[in-house]
Symmetry: C2
Subunit: 236 residues, 2 copies
């Protein structure tokens, strides 16, 4: 079924992407900026989740945002209105962001403050899971309105997640969401991933997500200082 040339080329594209993703990761680490790849299906509340998290980030951690959309800049305009430093990427058809797009975007951003770069990927539960974009943390946004079978149907996204945010839990009384079945699917793919329940209606859960991410960002700093120390040692 598969054309050998096509497979070769895909492998080549993935290799090149991973190479640039490594570069982005190192570059951002050197700036003390944690990179979060935010992934999820259309309409699960990716931008809403970011806004919830921003309310609870410690002051010393600056939020940066890159918005990935096929077309439109609705979310970027929305975030900028709220004073967030947001950069728009339009993929014009492509179903995911890739590392070269991010490498290009960060060239246009002022990265002088430590913080967290949230990259909101294209709304899609398939393609974004396959392409590293230089992230330290893969954050999957899931919602109870999607139904409890999603880990079984889209395993790669759940397998690759470093943190899962389960959104819209305020709607629990009106839906037949089988939480036990959902968590069984999650655990089969990803034994230790933290799962945080949130709701933009009640505001619950965002504080805990923000704390988890802030902790990761501070660990990055420690690692970086350590790394810089080592570097210095080698040259000294």
């Amino acid at each position: 079924m598969h054309d050998i040339r096509k497979l070769d080329m895909q492998a080549g594209i993935l290799d090149e992407n991973d190479h640039i993703a490594d570069h982005v990761n190192e570059h951002m680490s050197a700036h003390g900026i944690l990179v979060v790849n935010e992934m999820g299906a259309p309409g699960v509340g990716k931008t809403t989740t970011l806004k919830g998290i921003f309310k609870h980030l410690p002051e010393e951690i600056k939020p940066y945002v890159i918005e990935g959309d096929i077309e439109s800049d609705i979310d970027t305009v929305d975030l900028k209105d709220k004073g967030i430093d947001a950069y728009q990427i339009n993929t014009y058809g492509a179903c995911h962001l890739d590392a070269p797009m991010i490498d290009h975007a960060i060239d246009h951003m002022d990265l002088s403050k430590r913080g967290i770069l949230f990259i909101e990927n294209v709304g899609n539960l398939v393609c974004p899971a396959e392409f590293s974009i230089g992230e330290h943390v893969m954050m999957l946004i899931s919602t109870i309105t999607e139904g409890s079978d999603k880990p079984y149907k889209y395993p790669l996204a759940f397998e690759k997640a470093d943190i899962i945010v389960l959104n819209k839990v305020d709607l629990m009384p009106y839906l037949d969401f089988d939480e036990e079945f959902y968590m069984k699917g999650v655990r089969a793919l990803n034994k230790d991933v933290p799962v945080f329940k949130v709701s933009s209606k009640t505001g619950e859960g965002y504080k805990e997500v923000a704390e988890w991410l802030a902790k990761r960002a501070s660990e990055l700093e420690i690692k970086e200082h350590h790394h810089e120390g080592e570097h210095h040692h080698h040259h000294g």
Copy 2:
């Protein structure tokens, strides 16, 4: 940014796909079977919508189903349990079905009765809109839980839809769904597409969708008889 070889190859793959899609379409038309490409993001209720429609299809129209999933056969097992003739395709990573997959699947199906073949595409609002799989009708499943900005963010899917099913309308009291904004987006892309509101909780709307599809299926038969007549004439 784009590699010329890559673009050439993509164009070639699309040409080949369209060629096979035409073949599938003609083959199914000859059997008096309307092909419906069912598209929508993960968790919008694609399988649930099919089950709702099946309750209202006239007896002379047999429902056939092809289920497209990355992995898993949850929906196929569910449909077979309910006596529906369902065939499973797993794409193992690919974010959409393509025409060769359908061409292969229908070789394994008994198509002796007139009816409608519902092909449930991979849960994705981006890739499936780009690949014809031989459908007569592109049916987009959308839901109010996704938010009202979806036509603006995923224009191709809304532009290509021949019918839009807006699902989960029973949740309207609990969500901030801006129907006017949603419909403005739909109409900017697709002036005349019918939009049916449905709910699996209340059962509303499926009868109207089933009637619309049954009418399209009966028009197909008339066209086919006419075509066969012409064919006969040429050979006679």
